[in-house]
Each structure stands twice: as C-alpha cells, then as structure tokens.
C-alpha cells in the first residue's frame, strides 16, 4: 500500500519534471524575439531584399554587428532607420540567444547575381588583384566564403546586399569595420559587380558556427 503510494508519488514527480522540462524549452524559445527579426530578414531568415540572410551567419559576427548597431557604428541609412531602433533595448543575453539561434539555421544561396560574372568574381576572391592593391578575400573569409569567428560568412549572401555593403563603405559609412573600408576603396564598380555575383552562388559549406 505504502509502496504503491510511493510509486505513484515518484510517477507524478516524473511527469511534473517532464512537463517542466518541456515548458522550460518552449519558454526559452518564446523568450527569443525571433519574429521581430524575421519580419524583415524572412520567415526562415534567408534574407529579403536589403535585409541580409541571417541563417548560417557566424554567431560571433551577428553578436558583434548587433553591438555595432547599438553603438551607432554601423550607420548606413537603412541601419539607422531599422536596426538602431531594433537593438536599442536588446540585452546581451538575448542578443547572444538570437545569434546562436540564427547561426544554427541552414542557409540557402541567394543566387541572384549575374552568372556570367561568377568566374571573374571567383578570380578576384581567390587571388585579389595585386597590381591594383586589391586584397584576396579568401585570406580572411576562407576558401568557400565561410568566414571564421567574427569574420562573416559571405558565401550565398545576396548580390543585392553584398553590392550595397561594399558601396556603402565607399560612401563613408561604417568606417570602423576595418579593414573593409580600405578593401572597398580598392575595388572598381565592375569588380564589385563580379564579386557580389560570384558570392551569391556559393553553396553552404558547414564548418561549424
């Protein structure tokens, strides 16, 4: 009799613990304001128009960029208009949670560049153009545009976004993102077209987050 009661107690305790676990997991996900991001970045975070893909982006890079919006260091017009407000009340723990969440999603290549320019873009990406002081992107961003630590993944980002980002460095925005302002300055308009086109077609290579 006593034993049965004890079993019953243990059983209900187990159920309660399980319920707590499930509730805990659910609330952790609910607590992340993912939908605030996906309004613009796409419901599966694959990017939409000028809002870049976040899926598969590097955790440390997302965290750093969120901080740079908060510090108003990333200051191009759309960042000012949308991202400054979006991160204004974002606490570090939530920022980290979002970075971990988005970096865990499998990215798809935007493939929206001009395919005819891809070979030229790859040549610039892999080798640079030494005579014009164009550095080889591969040295920092890796053989498949996968990035490393807080150096962003570029492979498969949209042509529209990549082109705009390189142009904005030349227009004087986000100059703290060294050495990219200098790199952007060395690129001709045609080289920007080619690089952004090439990268938009690069397929996801999983090298961890």
């Amino acid at each position: 009799m006593q034993r049965a009661r004890r079993d019953q107690r243990t059983g209900s305790g187990l159920v309660a613990a399980l319920l707590l676990l499930i509730a805990g997991a659910a609330s952790a996900q609910d607590a992340l304001p993912v939908r605030n991001c996906t309004w613009c970045h796409g419901s599966s975070a694959q990017g939409f128009m000028f809002a870049p893909r976040l899926a598969g982006q590097r955790t440390a890079y997302i965290e750093r960029e969120l901080a740079s919006f908060a510090a108003h260091a990333r200051d191009n017009p759309l960042s000012q208009k949308y991202m400054w407000g979006a991160v204004a009340r974002l606490d570090p723990a939530t920022a980290q949670g979002l970075a971990v969440y988005f970096s865990s999603l499998a990215p798809e290549a935007a493939a929206d560049g001009q395919s005819g320019l891809a070979a030229t873009g790859k040549a610039i990406y892999d080798n640079g153009v030494a005579v014009d002081n164009v550095a080889a992107c591969i040295a920092c961003h890796g053989p498949n545009g996968e990035g490393v630590r807080d150096i962003p993944r570029l492979g498969g980002l949209s042509y529209v976004y990549l082109k705009r980002r390189l142009e904005q460095w030349n227009q004087g925005y986000h100059q703290s993102a060294k050495p990219m302002p200098l790199v952007a300055k060395s690129l001709s308009a045609n080289e920007v077209e080619a690089l952004a086109s090439y990268l938009s077609f690069v397929q996801f290579v999983d090298v961890g987050r």
């Binding site: 640079g128 030494a130 005579v131 002081n133 040295a139 920092c140 961003h141 150096i151 200098l182």
Partner: protein, 216 residues
C-alpha cells in the same frame, strides 16, 4: 653687368637645391618611387597582415611583418615569385612589386614595433623558452637561439620570430617540406631549417611557438 650673371647663378643654385629637396621628400627611396604609390601598397599589405603589421588571424593566420629582417622579407618575396616558396596569394602579391617598392616596404616593416598579437597558450611558454635556449641535446636539436638570436630578432636572411603568431609558426614548420625550397635546382636558405622541422615534435613545436610569440 654683373647683376644678371649673379641672378643666373643663384637661380641655378636654387634649382639644384630644389631637386635635392625633392629627392629628400621621397625618404631616400631608390628608383624614384612616388610616396603616394608606396603608401597605397603599404596599406594594402596591412589589410591582411594587421593595421600595424602585428599579424592577423583571418581564415589563415597571416604573419607579423613588423620588425622583420629586411633581407629575410626580400628573400621570401623573391621565393614567392620564383615558386621556391608556394603560396597562392603571396605569389600574385609579390609578382607586381618593383625592386624599389620591395626596398621601401621591407625597410618600413622593419621599423614597426607594435605589441605582439598574443593568443598563444600561456602554460606552454616556459617549456618553449627552454627549447628555444637549449634545444634538445638528446636528439641533436640545436637551440633556436643559436641562429635566430637570444631575443629571437633574427639576422639577415634568418627571420625574426619575436612576436610571431604561434599558429602561423606551427603551420609553416609543419608544412615546411611542401611550401619551402620547392625548386630543387635552386636550393635556398630554407634547407638550413628543413632537418630541424623534422626533429621538432608537435609538442615541442607548440611550446616554442608559444614562447617566441610572447617576445617583443
């Protein structure tokens, strides 16, 4: 009648003086290298090698050039061009450098003295110092200090190791046979290092790389 003549002489003197000043303004670089061109190239190198040439960790560790021996840098740049040293990026970079540019760049890098980049495991430093200073007599591993100098500053074609990125050193030593001395018909200074790269165990290499990376 004497006045115009004196004027001509002083004009000539002024001309000579101005030319002299012009040459001085170029920092004594040979081959009339425009300063703007030099500054652009110098900044380009530091895109990858770090703002102060202290080295930078991108997808690959890119070596510190600050304080490096000019003769070593010259030899390596030539080795990239002649494919004695294999590196896809640096082959292209080196190919377009004029002798005057190489001269100016190597001098400029030698004169930089930033803090070491750091990042090596500290617990290996003591063991590394011992290997650097004493070698490993049991296997005839010479002390690194005997060629690279007691402060790891290098000399002539022997590179400075002080402040070098530990992960860069580990990669280079590990891949020595595949990257250095690739033209059998034209053996170079890399052959001196080759047997030593084979003697260093991975643990010894990690330790000595950690040690020299902390030196300034």
């Amino acid at each position: 009648m004497r006045l115009p003549r004196a004027k001509t002489v002083s004009r000539a003197a002024l001309f000579v003086l101005l030319c002299g000043a012009g040459a001085q303004a170029q920092g004594g670089k040979p081959g009339a290298l425009p300063d703007k061109e030099f500054q652009a190239k110098f900044a380009y190198c530091r895109t990858c090698h770090g703002v102060n040439a202290q080295g930078f960790r991108g997808s690959f560790p890119m070596p510190r050039l600050a304080g490096q021996q000019p003769e070593y840098l010259k030899n390596q740049l030539t080795a990239f061009i002649e494919r004695r040293r294999v590196n896809p990026v640096m082959g292209n970079v080196a190919h377009v450098l004029s002798p005057a540019m190489v001269e100016a760049l190597t001098k400029a890098f030698h004169n930089l003295d930033p803090e070491p980049l750091g990042g090596a495991p500290k617990e290996l430093v003591d063991a590394g110092k011992k290997i650097f200073e004493e070698g490993d007599p049991a296997v005839d591993l010479p002390p690194c200090a005997s060629c690279h100098g007691p402060e790891a500053k290098g000399n002539d074609q022997i590179p400075r190791l002080a402040g070098q990125l530990n992960d860069y050193i580990i990669r280079k030593i590990t891949n020595w046979d595949k990257e250095r001395g690739q033209d059998v018909a034209k053996p170079d200074a890399s052959s001196v290092m080759e047997p030593i790269t084979h003697k260093l165990t991975p643990d010894q290499l990690a330790a000595v790389a950690a040690y020299v990376s902390t030196l300034r």
